[in-house]
């Protein structure tokens, strides 16, 4: 494991947190979205994280140089929480029964998630900074 591999591992972490922040921004922007049918309503989105090479890492094997380390985003899934139907017969988007559907985004959850994502992002960037300093010191060693 070289400095370059460490930087890529931390980079994958920062990138994953960036994707998480992106979904949170999208969720918050759509927190008040309404729609006339349950299937068309915006549902909260969340990324799914997995360790890169989790199976291989369980054996505690030494990673070979250039092997992808860190975290990867498996995909983005929609929240399965039930939508909130609201009786609003005069709403322009209301269905034939007079219902509109509000998205299942919970702004409080999203804010807490946002703070966690932002802290995690910072800590990954700090790590890159430390490794960068060491790398530079190694390059000037003996001068």
């Amino acid at each position: 494991m070289s400095f370059r591999d460490i930087i890529s591992a931390s980079g994958s972490g920062a990138s994953a947190q960036n994707i998480r922040l992106n979904t949170i921004a999208s969720n918050l922007a759509n927190a008040d979205s309404v729609s006339g049918s349950a299937s068309e309503t915006y549902k909260a989105r969340n990324p799914v994280f997995a360790a890169a090479l989790q199976d291989a890492r369980d054996s505690f094997a030494m990673p070979t140089p250039g092997q992808p380390l860190g975290v990867r985003v498996l995909g983005i899934v929609e929240d399965k929480a039930p939508l909130q139907p609201e009786h609003a017969p005069h709403h322009p988007l209301a269905d034939e029964n007079g219902f509109i559907y509000r998205s299942n985004v919970n702004p409080i959850n999203e804010m807490a998630n946002m703070i966690d994502a932002s802290r995690s992002f910072q800590i990954n960037i700090d790590m890159i900074d430390m490794v960068k300093n060491l790398h530079q010191k190694s390059l000037t060693m003996g001068q």
Binding site: M1, D5, P63, D116, M130, V131, L134
Partner: protein, 135 residues
């Protein structure tokens, strides 16, 4: 100080640098996975490594080289066993990474590497003085 002594010291320094780098790497990986469900934080088991060294159980495994001109640094993975970190607080998704512990470990490794750089550089400076013959 003979050249051989310098070489031996340099070898020791190289080992120490490799351990520090490996430790930083483990912390970076743990930190990257601090939100991964079920991920178990890993670390170098120094106690087991020290015991290996004291019992004379050091393995001689050549490091991976991709070119004939690469020098063998004698990094022996088996001499530095890894272990799972024990977590302070259980989490609901089974993740055992504590960001603060990892940050502290990474900082320790950072300082160790810096100290080793310094020792190495000073050793080389001393050698240069001796070669030039002026003090």
């Amino acid at each position: 100080m003979t050249i051989q002594n310098v070489n031996m010291g340099a070898n020791l320094q190289t080992q120490a640098l490799l351990i520090g780098t490996r430790q930083m790497g483990m912390s970076a990986e743990n930190l990257a996975n601090q939100n991964t469900p079920g991920y178990k934080a890993k670390a170098i088991d120094f106690e087991a490594a020290l015991k290996n060294a004291q019992d004379g159980n050091l393995q001689n495994i050549n490091s991976r080289t991709t070119n004939v001109q690469h020098q063998n640094l004698n990094w022996q993975e088996e001499n530095y066993p890894l272990a799972y970190r024990t977590n302070v607080q259980p989490s609901i998704n089974g993740n055992t990474v504590d960001p603060h512990v990892e940050k502290a470990e990474a900082t320790k490794a950072y300082l160790d590497i810096q100290a080793n750089h310094r020792f190495y550089a000073e050793k080389m400076q001393n050698l240069t003085l001796v070669i030039k013959g002026k003090l």
